[in-house]
Symmetry: C2
Subunit: 208 residues, 2 copies
């Protein structure tokens, strides 16, 4: 099967899909878009690839038979179906999804957004409304990192005894959170877990 990742390679959401594919030994073709230049808001992108105007989108199959799957965690689910990255136990599988929904609701909008604003958009270019959210997003991001650190002080992986999509989803923006002004040294259990993820066979770094 041909897999094509429509992405902006600076995005941790896109990296999740590349990391999942790498850990599974799957080959991905890559198409790069610059979201700051609006390349995911063109009529062609909106009409064919994602009406929601966002990356990543995983394209499954080439040409006219291609199907398009937006939302990073859903794309990871598709790729990992039937693999050890999704636990088969009923509670563990739901608990993995629990951490993936936590990632999109409580972690990404704080940890990823501050990185994007501070490291890519640049603080002087932020709107007044964005600037007024920095304090709340820093507090929200620290609360998410606290919760992760507390959990990882008790177990090596988010769910069960081995790496799952929950680890991949949370790794993507956590390991680059210092670009958003968070301090990894405040979270020793997270730091140890980051090392475990980076040591997984097949691991690929974000820039690459």
């Amino acid at each position: 099967m041909t897999y094509i990742l429509h992405e902006d390679s600076r995005s941790g959401n896109c990296y999740k899909i590349r990391l999942t594919a790498a850990l599974l030994g799957l080959r991905l073709e890559r198409r790069e878009y610059d979201i700051i230049k609006g390349e995911t808001r063109t009529p062609e992108f909106l009409g064919t690839i994602n009406a929601n105007g966002r990356i990543p989108v995983l394209q499954i199959g080439a040409g006219d038979s291609g199907r398009f799957l937006p939302e990073s965690n859903a794309a990871c689910w598709y790729l990992a179906e039937g693999s050890a990255l999704i636990p088969s136990d009923r509670f563990a599988q739901a608990d993995m999804l629990r951490w993936m929904f936590f990632e999109q609701y409580s972690h990404e909008p704080n940890v990823a957004t501050l990185r994007w604003w501070l490291a890519f958009v640049g603080e002087p270019s932020l709107s007044a409304a964005q600037r007024s959210q920095i304090v709340a997003k820093r507090a929200g991001g620290e609360a998410a990192l606290d919760l992760m650190d507390e959990h990882l002080a008790r177990q090596d992986w988010f769910v069960g005894q081995s790496a799952s999509l929950a680890d991949i989803a949370l790794y993507a923006y956590t390991h680059v959170c210092e670009a958003g002004s968070f301090r990894l040294r405040d979270y020793p259990a997270i730091c140890a877990w980051l090392g475990r993820v980076a040591a997984l066979p097949g691991y690929v770094p974000m820039a690459g």
Copy 2:
């Protein structure tokens, strides 16, 4: 199996789980908390039920053997596992999760938050930072509703030929979105779909 839903019954996220259980014919016990009064931030709640201090939490099993599952969409997944509410086709299943992640990332933080701020907290009680987000949240909510309306103009259900967890997840806050100042009459395909969901065998309303 004993299922206990820890909830604030005003929350659409909690209602998703009640609606899923009702459509599946499962019985839920219910424990009510007032989130405005901080009842999900007590040491007991944080220590036993959810360290993230949020509802809903689905408790599976009573007493010391009980296990706790936060995140509404993960709880729905647990309850619906093996049922017709989760399609078995690989792409359809991932596509259902795609709409559920869309709900938590692009829909709930806009559509649900404005309802909460305007109908429960009250505009005079909002902080300046919250007030500065109203315009962006209204635009974000309208974009999410536009995308849903466009999709539902082409098909009766979000994924495949019958109701799935994607419909339940998106129904919860969409059907009460007017409390957040959105106008349902602007979205005719959504209105028709709301009627199809409410006609499902076993359907229960939000207040009940």
